[in-house]
């Protein structure tokens, strides 16, 4: 089923989705666009390249509350916090970011113990993928083609959206998406020429080229393993790194978290919060021992975890080439270039 709406009427679609559940969509902020919960349908803004922070927070929020407790009360009086089971609509997600969810699914939703929070949020959410605008130039930081992802890839979306001049085309991909699409009465049926445009866009998406590094994931995984002890290399590529962790916070595939107790005036919350392997105390043990005191050791951990360890453990690189880490880095460190350099060793 292919439907359409005028982009200037997007707020009407947003209003309908807000009636049905929680709407997360790109909004314009001071520094650029980010996904946010929509309270005012006029705020939805599809005039963006990609968001500064990835949409992973829809399933893995920066803060996830586990338990509320009171100091002085017994443990049995602590109150477990349930995840809201209201339907969620995640609107306007770029194909590389949609792909990141399926990679995170392996870790949180398939391997070993299932993470109840990720799993419940994922189940409650309908994903509206959104093709990159093929008439706009590719950002120099992007390299999702290297990871086998294309600019107009509908895979993983429930509904996939393509911009056609002043219109937005919406295609049902999964049964869940088809069902929802049929209920959205602000949309109209698309015509034959729209069908053709949609199909052509998907095809043309393959020709919309990002930077490309020929990555055979097993080759790169083994290479990084082999150069692990090459301290000269790691020192060189990390020499500018401030260890600020910005790259990990914007990343759609970084999932390290901390669990902490936040108490104020005798009342507290145990929650998990995003954490980063780039921070000095990340691996600091109670004994005082810390295996990663040096910046190069932490940057090496970040890159190897994504491109080597993750491949060995889960069979897939934990990166989608969205380019956010490169765009956000205050000292212009580029993970793509480091991998490229490593391959030359």
């Amino acid at each position: 089923m292919l439907k359409k709406t005028a982009i200037e009427k997007i707020s009407q679609l947003a209003a309908v989705l807000m009636e049905k559940g929680t709407l997360l969509a790109p909004v314009k902020e001071v520094a650029g666009h980010n996904f946010a919960e929509i309270n005012d349908p006029q705020k939805v803004d599809l005039n963006f390249y990609n968001t500064i922070i990835s949409p992973k927070g829809a399933f893995f929020p920066p803060k996830e509350d586990f338990i509320k407790y009171k100091i002085g009360k017994t443990i049995t009086e602590a109150e477990q916090i349930k995840v809201d089971s209201k339907p969620v609509f995640l609107f306007g997600v770029r194909p590389c970011d949609v792909k990141s969810f399926s990679i995170m699914d392996i870790h949180f939703n398939a391997a070993g113990i299932i993470d109840p929070y990720w799993s419940q949020r994922r189940k409650a959410t309908t994903i509206f993928g959104y093709a990159y605008d093929l008439n706009q130039p590719v950002d120099a930081a992007d390299f999702y083609n290297s990871l086998g992802i294309y600019a107009a890839d509908p895979e993983g979306s429930d509904i996939f959206m393509v911009k056609k001049d002043k219109d937005l085309l919406l295609k049902g991909i999964t049964p869940k998406g088809e069902e929802l699409l049929a209920q959205l009465n602000t949309l109209v049926d698309a015509g034959k020429d729209d069908e053709k445009y949609y199909e052509e866009t998907l095809k043309k998406g393959k020709e919309y080229k990002t930077r490309f590094l020929c990555i055979d994931q097993d080759v790169i995984a083994k290479k990084l393993e082999a150069v692990f002890n090459n301290n000269d290399f790691w020192t060189k590529v990390s020499s500018a790194c401030l260890s600020c962790g910005a790259c990990t916070f914007v990343c759609p595939n970084c999932y390290c978290f901390d669990i902490c107790d936040d108490t104020i005036f005798g009342k507290g919350t145990r929650r998990r919060v995003w954490d980063a392997c780039m921070f000095t105390d990340f691996t600091l043990e109670a004994s005082g021992h810390n295996p990663r005191t040096q910046v190069y050791q932490r940057l090496r951990q970040k890159i190897n975890h994504k491109y080597s360890y993750h491949v060995k453990k889960y069979g897939v690189i934990s990166c989608v080439g969205c380019g956010r880490c490169t765009r956000s880095c205050p000292v212009n460190i580029d993970i793509y270039s480091i991998v490229e350099e490593a391959l030359k060793l």
Binding site: F66, I71, T76, A78, E225, D261, S287
Partner: protein, 286 residues
């Protein structure tokens, strides 16, 4: 764990506290479960650990010191941390009295590979405080129904001085038994110490356990491990037959939070027990 949410601790009560050492900073806590169903679900194997949980302080991953053959409770031997990094949970725990309630998550991690150890001669080597999950293993093997499943058992256990030996009463019991060879040593004795003096590596060399059908299970401070391993290599133990338990900073304990990642392994989930052959496959990043 309530509602099968692996992040929510189950309530336990401190049934007994044993002060293990002269310095008063290592205590064994015996916990009983507040809910019968939690006790039934907490099925563990020696070598596993649990997350001790105190709201307002946090959680600490601690090896299980009791044996699963001991029913109705679970024990953890905990050192008060804090000389270098402030140990909020362990300090709070040390300040609690019998009867207090805390949280527990687990059992977590892999374990000493019991099936692999069966029908083999077991050499247990421990140093200082790192004897807790070894105690669990020894008591498990010594349990009347289990003893025949294992060959000869040799234990070499050392501490810096007699006051720092853990489980002193049990050590004395083991020394009396003829189905386990127990060798206790201290780096330096005192006026009342009648036992052996000497470092663990040297004592292992003197003891010279045969590598034939044998597995060595070694836990201790890095310096002890460093000098003990060459002794076992010289005796002819292969890397597949030397096991140890790894330390890494942990949070979730279930292989999700990424903190204890070393190479392709999460120490909390894929470990903490590894053979030396397995450790050779990992980057030296721990």
């Amino acid at each position: 764990m309530s509602d099968n949410n692996p992040y929510i601790p189950m309530p336990v009560q401190i049934a007994k506290i044993t002060n293990e050492v002269d310095t008063n900073d290592i205590k064994t806590f015996r916990f009983t479960f507040l809910n019968k169903e939690d006790e039934e679900k907490f099925k563990y194997t020696p070598g596993q650990f649990g997350e001790l949980s105190i709201y307002g302080k946090g959680e600490s991953p601690i090896g299980i010191a009791s044996s699963p053959t001991e029913l109705g409770y679970v024990e953890f031997t905990v050192q008060r941390a804090g000389t270098i990094v402030p140990g909020l949970v362990t300090a709070a725990l040390h300040d609690l009295d019998e009867g207090a309630q805390i949280g527990l998550r687990g059992p977590l991690g892999n374990s000493w590979p019991i099936e692999f150890l069966e029908n083999k001669n077991i050499v247990v080597v421990g140093g200082g405080f790192a004897f807790t999950t070894l105690r669990s293993l020894i008591n498990y093997m010594l349990y009347k129904d289990n003893r025949k499943r294992f060959g000869e058992i040799t234990v070499v256990y050392g501490a810096r001085n007699p006051g720092l030996l853990l489980y002193k009463d049990e050590l004395a019991e083991w020394e009396k038994r003829d189905d386990i060879k127990t060798i206790i040593t201290v780096d330096k004795g005192n006026e009342t110490w009648k036992g052996r003096e000497g470092f663990v590596p040297a004592v292992c060399k003197d003891t010279a356990p045969s590598p034939k059908d044998a597995v060595a299970v070694i836990c201790g401070p890095p310096i002890m491990i460093k000098f003990t391993l060459p002794v076992f290599f010289e005796l002819g133990f292969s890397k597949e037959n030397i096991l140890t338990s790894l330390e890494m900073r942990m949070k979730c304990g279930i292989g999700k939070c990424g903190r204890c990642n070393v190479g392709s392994q999460y120490v909390c989930k894929d470990g903490p027990v590894f053979s030396l052959a397995e450790l050779d496959q990992l980057p030296r990043d721990f």
